[in-house]
């Protein structure tokens, strides 16, 4: 337990250093890439609630991302709401969308759930593209304002990055608290075995709905952050590819771990930036790397590395952990 507390303290300090350091970053290109990466990380954290902790798949999170972004965009440009209220509204509306999606789909499992959520994402994208009176279709919405904090406008990239990092940390902290509470235990129970969870008195339906709305709400916050950072939204950002990228990030990084989504985002951003010089070959290599990473580290990068490091530091403890996981796997099979 003491070890855990040190780790928590360490990450908090590291997080605060990141927030402060962002303020002193000057390179515009780097600022932009980092801010977008932080927003992707928030999306990954949202999907991790479903995929990692509750054992539900979602291939439609770009839908929530889009709903959050468009809610912010429309409320600030059409109705001239303050950006902060628009952010709150983005959370509420996306969380409600998550609840609505959850109502019919929480009965579904595995592949079916994947396809149903994929359908949700596609429907949102089609609506954004075609409901031109509201969303202006493929033209998108321009001139979305940036929020102001303590009298400082966040339209400058370094302030915005700092704000985004702080939001990510806050969300991570909340997720950490929830996941280690009774709610988190119920979610994990559902992930391991739904029928057993039900028999143990866990309200499976209710907890799944909660996971869907929480996850949708967080993705909505990511959307709001995206909209006011880019000052422009258009439907093409919120397509199937986006949904897929988010899930890939989570599973690559390590689903069901707090650090997994962050590491996944970091590595995928790094790979895609490193490949920028290859131009046309970039996405070909990216696809191949993706397959290779999944084939060689199916459990995710973070658990893979953790295991390696543990083995080196304390072989006996690692062996016990491995043994324990072996039992878990047999149980599930």
């Amino acid at each position: 337990m003491n070890h855990k507390r040190t780790l928590l303290l360490f990450s908090t300090v590291l997080g605060i250093i990141c927030v402060v350091a962002s303020l002193y970053m000057q390179n515009l290109y780097l600022l932009r890439v980092s801010t977008l990466a932080v927003i992707s990380a928030i999306l990954a954290v949202a999907v991790n609630l479903l995929v990692g902790y509750t054992g539900q798949i979602s291939l439609g999170h770009a839908g929530f991302f889009g709903i959050g972004a468009y809610t912010t965009a429309l409320l600030t440009t059409e109705l001239h709401w303050s950006v902060w209220f628009a952010f709150a509204a983005a959370f509420v509306v996306s969380a409600f969308a998550g609840l609505l999606l959850g109502l019919p789909t929480t009965k579904l499992k595995g592949h079916f759930l994947g396809i149903a959520t994929m359908g949700f994402g596609i429907i949102v994208n089609v609506v954004l593209n075609n409901w031109t009176e509201l969303t202006q279709g493929p033209m998108g919405i321009r001139n979305i304002p940036a929020p102001e904090l303590f009298g400082i406008s966040l339209q400058y990239e370094n302030y915005y990055l700092s704000f985004a990092v702080a939001s990510l940390l806050l969300i991570l902290l909340l997720v950490y608290l929830v996941v280690n509470s009774a709610i988190g235990r119920a979610w994990k129970g559902i992930k391991r075995d739904e029928i057993t969870a039900e028999v143990s008195g866990i309200n499976v339906y209710g907890y799944k709905l909660l996971a869907f709305s929480a996850s949708g709400g967080i993705a909505g916050i990511a959307g709001a952050l995206y909209a006011s950072f880019m000052t422009f939204v258009s439907p093409e950002t919120f397509d199937l590819n986006q949904s897929i990228t988010i899930v890939t990030t989570v599973v690559l990084g390590g689903a069901g771990t707090l650090a997994g989504p962050l590491i996944g985002t970091g590595i995928l951003t790094l790979i895609s930036e490193l490949l920028r010089d290859f131009q046309e070959l970039r996405l070909i290599i990216y696809g191949a790397v993706l397959v290779a990473l999944i084939v060689f580290m199916p459990q995710g990068i973070y658990p893979f590395l953790k295991e390696r490091i543990q083995k080196r530091l304390s072989p006996s403890k690692a062996a016990i952990n491995q043994e324990r996981r072996g039992i878990d796997e047999r149980d599930i099979a």
Binding site: V51, I57, P104, T105, K107, L108, G110, H111, F112, G114, I115, A116, M118, G119, F120, I122, I123, V126, V127, N129, N130, I195, L240, I244, V247, T248, V251, L252, E280, L281, R282, L283, I284, Y286, G287, A288, L290, V291, I294, V295, P298, Q299
Partner: protein
């Protein structure tokens, strides 16, 4: 009246194609328990194979037959590198691997050919047949005929041959099938190759009617999933009937409601099916084993 008939005929013609692609998808799902998100990409491969061959002087019918082989060979390599190593890990991993494969294949096609839509010449192009005031292009008739024949052949292969029995056994219960001496790994390879090769033919068939471009597979994959869910995952007859239904819905929605919202309507129907009959319209209800 004739407009309605025309819409229905067009819908059914597209529907047979969806049937063919969904047939491959549902076979692969049944045996490998894989939602193959790269399925549509094999239609793209078949289309580009036909394009390449026709541009190099091969006649269109031969090109269609060869596209079966090309998609099959690429399918074998994909299975070997991206799916086979993951056969024992969680299902989501294989699914993500298929997404990586899809990304890889789309961008490879974009690199090798071009991102622009291209048309394949077919001897039947531009020729129409008029029946009771309805115009049907002869290429569409070819699509329907070849798709239906292939669906029928595949059905017979599954029902009446040793290989088919092995496939059905492996999809029912792989462990028991292995105990009975069925080489499930080989069956998995063969089913995958057959499934994507059929999809490859579908791609070669649409090449003269619609354009061929690297991203064409994405929408085909999503449609095929709707079909498979509609017909029941792993249900072969369901895939064939489901394909026709989705083709019809899409064509009617596009013609009478809104072409922009076409895809949303198709997925709306999918939602209704998932909520009210998640096992598909043709499969009997089965309880979950505890």
């Amino acid at each position: 009246m004739s407009e309605l008939a025309q819409t229905i005929v067009n819908g059914l013609a597209v529907g047979t194609l969806y049937s063919l692609i969904a047939l491959g998808l549902t076979l692969i799902y049944g045996v490998m328990n894989l939602s193959n998100f790269a399925q549509g990409e094999f239609a793209m491969i078949g289309g580009f194979a036909a394009l390449y061959l026709v541009n190099h002087g091969v006649s269109y019918p031969v090109a269609v037959i060869l596209s079966f082989g090309v998609a099959g060979i690429i399918g074998f390599i994909v299975h070997l590198l991206a799916y086979h190593p993951l056969r024992k890990s969680e299902h989501i991993n294989m699914m993500l691997s298929s997404l990586g494969v899809s990304l890889f294949l789309v961008n490879l096609a974009q690199y090798l050919f071009s991102p622009n839509p291209q048309v394949v010449d077919s001897p039947l192009a531009g020729r129409n047949l008029e029946v009771f005031g309805i115009f049907i292009s002869q290429q569409r008739i070819l699509i329907v005929a070849v798709s239906l024949v292939l669906c029928g052949l595949t059905y017979m292969l599954l029902e009446y041959t040793r290989f088919g029995r092995a496939v059905r056994a492996a999809s029912l219960d792989p462990d028991t099938a292995t105990l009975y001496g069925i080489p499930t790994r080989r069956i998995s390879f063969m089913t995958f190759v057959l499934g994507v090769a059929l999809t490859g033919v579908a791609g070669a068939l649409i090449a003269p009617v619609y354009n061929i471009y690297p991203y064409m597979g994405v929408s085909l994959t999503t449609k095929a999933f709707v079909v498979v869910v509609l017909g029941g995952m792993g249900n072969v007859v369901g895939a064939i009937v489901g394909g026709l239904i989705v083709g019809l819905i899409e064509s009617l929605a596009g013609g009478y409601i809104s072409s922009g919202f076409q895809d949303a309507i198709v997925f709306g129907v999918l939602f209704l099916v998932l909520v009210f009959r998640p096992q598909g319209i043709l499969t009997k209800v089965q309880g979950e084993k505890v």
